[in-house]
Symmetry: C2
Subunit: 322 residues, 2 copies
């Protein structure tokens, strides 16, 4: 608990889902803000946030939430960021830092920046962290530990504001990197948006087969399919907005992916075992690098739990015999 | 430990990788065999198996291993099964049950059956379980708990032999289902082979980009990409053989998958948010069914470990201030 300090007096969170509620929990545990004001569009969420006690104050509107706030973080689907910026713009405190957590940065800058008044510092952010669950109950303070948070400050943003927000994220155990919004959107198109789109696709492919029942797909999913269903169970609104907001980069990546599928398809059709073996060997090595960089666990099977062996599973004819 | 009984006096394992060594460990822990004889093609593996002590006897050849064995399980890549069957055929004990653990069943039946003499029962099997690791050290006795083991006995196989092998797998906590080899190959093409092929593909797509560095792909892989790298790090020989052996079903699934990619691509290109939202919502539900069936954990993020919050991460300018 040494060296802990307040980075922002009042934090306003607009939206308290998985990410917003994780920020609230981490900021309080780390003591980097004095006070947390939260709001959410739905009354049910506001009620739940109040019950959870993860904010000091839960208010009904975004305009009310940002009053006197030193840091405002908009934690909502990217498609809704422009409207929220328009609503909060006139109510922001002079000198406040405004940020977000959206998975697309170009559209967020385009939609939010015009509504933010002079004297406010805009530092868009994207913590590359999450789970497949949503809502205020899904968050936890450790979500950002060892994960990257990418900042994409527009030109002219005060370096002091950027560094202060970076310190805020580092206090949660995150690592911070700064890049342009456009580069961010290209990088995330391949590390996040394309994988999600492919996962959503393959789940559909499996479930629309005539020859294989849905029950068979579910039962035998441990062969690999179940890994894809996890990211295909993320929040649909969030992902709809991401694909619409990062359309160009996603379409570009989809085009390249389809070419690469064709390459492997051709190798299989030709029965080219050497090509397959070489491709698989090369790609196998990549996971080791991810584990070495601390971006995934080395535990087999992601660390999925394995229950113990059964005490008695032998069917009658065998169980009776001996 | 009640009701435990010996199902087969002598078990011969040909191949002692992840699956073979897990069978050895589980069979011994459950006491369902009296003696385990193991062999492996490479001397290094045989030496390691002897060191691990997971078999009673390690021998140099498959022919030697199967002598007097009551159950022979071939645990090697499917492309090598035919040659092993030819080698062991003349040495099998009358009344022995011969099985395997291959991920493709049609080709295994085609390659092995002609070499197995009359008086031997052939019951091909596929335990739908595994991790991304390989080799005798990777196995563990609990690998098959709650997983399905699919048996594909050819017509004319003795029901008693099928039931005895089923009891063997059930004693490891596995659930057993019987189907034709052809149907197995179609089901697994979609629940396992297609997901692996797509995972191998996307890892390649990400790593061949000019605009995004490999280091960026690794660093920001927590956005979804890292999930794919796990199954793309499975054994290359095993997977080469699977795609060659189940070529027709895999190509059929790839064709359908590509059509489904086109459908989503079109929705993104048109900016059709309603279509995307509806597709994502429908597919999200599928994971719940898999969790409800006990085929995956409900723990967020597969249960990946989350280290605790840092005690002190504030950078100098901030850490000094307060």
């Amino acid at each position: 608990m040494t060296n802990k300090m307040v980075l922002f007096d009042r934090l306003a969170l607009i939206g308290v889902g998985l990410i917003g509620s994780s920020i609230a929990r981490a900021a309080r545990e780390q003591g980097v803000v004095k006070e947390i004001v939260a709001t959410a569009r739905s009354e049910a969420t506001r009620k739940r946030v109040a019950e959870l006690g993860i904010a000091d104050n839960v208010v009904a509107t975004s305009a009310e939430a940002v009053k006197n706030a030193d840091l405002v973080i908009v934690c909502i689907p990217v498609g809704a960021c422009g409207a929220v910026a328009a609503e909060i713009g006139p109510h922001l405190k002079l000198g406040a830092v405004v940020s977000d957590v959206g998975s697309v940065k170009g559209s967020v800058v385009r939609d939010m920046a015009p509504h933010l008044p002079a004297g406010v510092e805009f530092v868009p952010a994207h913590p590359v962290a999450g789970t497949e669950y949503s809502g205020p109950d899904a968050g936890f303070a450790e979500l950002f530990v060892n994960r990257w948070c990418i900042l994409t400050p527009p030109e002219g943003t005060s370096p002091e504001a950027v560094e202060r927000l970076a310190a805020f994220w580092r206090s949660f155990g995150a690592k911070v990197e700064t890049m342009t919004a456009d580069h961010h959107d290209l990088v995330l198109a391949v590390t996040s948006h394309l994988p999600h789109l492919i996962a959503y696709t393959i789940v559909g492919t499996a479930f629309e087969l005539r020859e294989v029942t849905q029950n068979e797909v579910l039962k035998f999913s441990a062969g690999g399919f179940r890994d894809f269903t996890r990211i295909a169970s993320s929040d649909p609104t969030m992902w709809r907005d991401i694909f619409l907001a990062n359309k160009d980069a996603v379409l570009e990546m989809l085009g390249r992916f389809s070419e690469d599928v064709s390459e492997l398809t051709r190798a299989i059709r030709r029965g080219d075992g050497d090509a397959l073996f070489n491709i698989f060997t090369e790609r196998r090595a990549i996971r080791r690098s991810i584990v070495a960089l601390g971006q995934d666990s080395a535990t087999p099977d992601f660390g999925r739990p394995h229950p113990g062996l059964p005490a008695d599973t032998l069917p009658r004819p065998y169980a009776d015999k001996d």
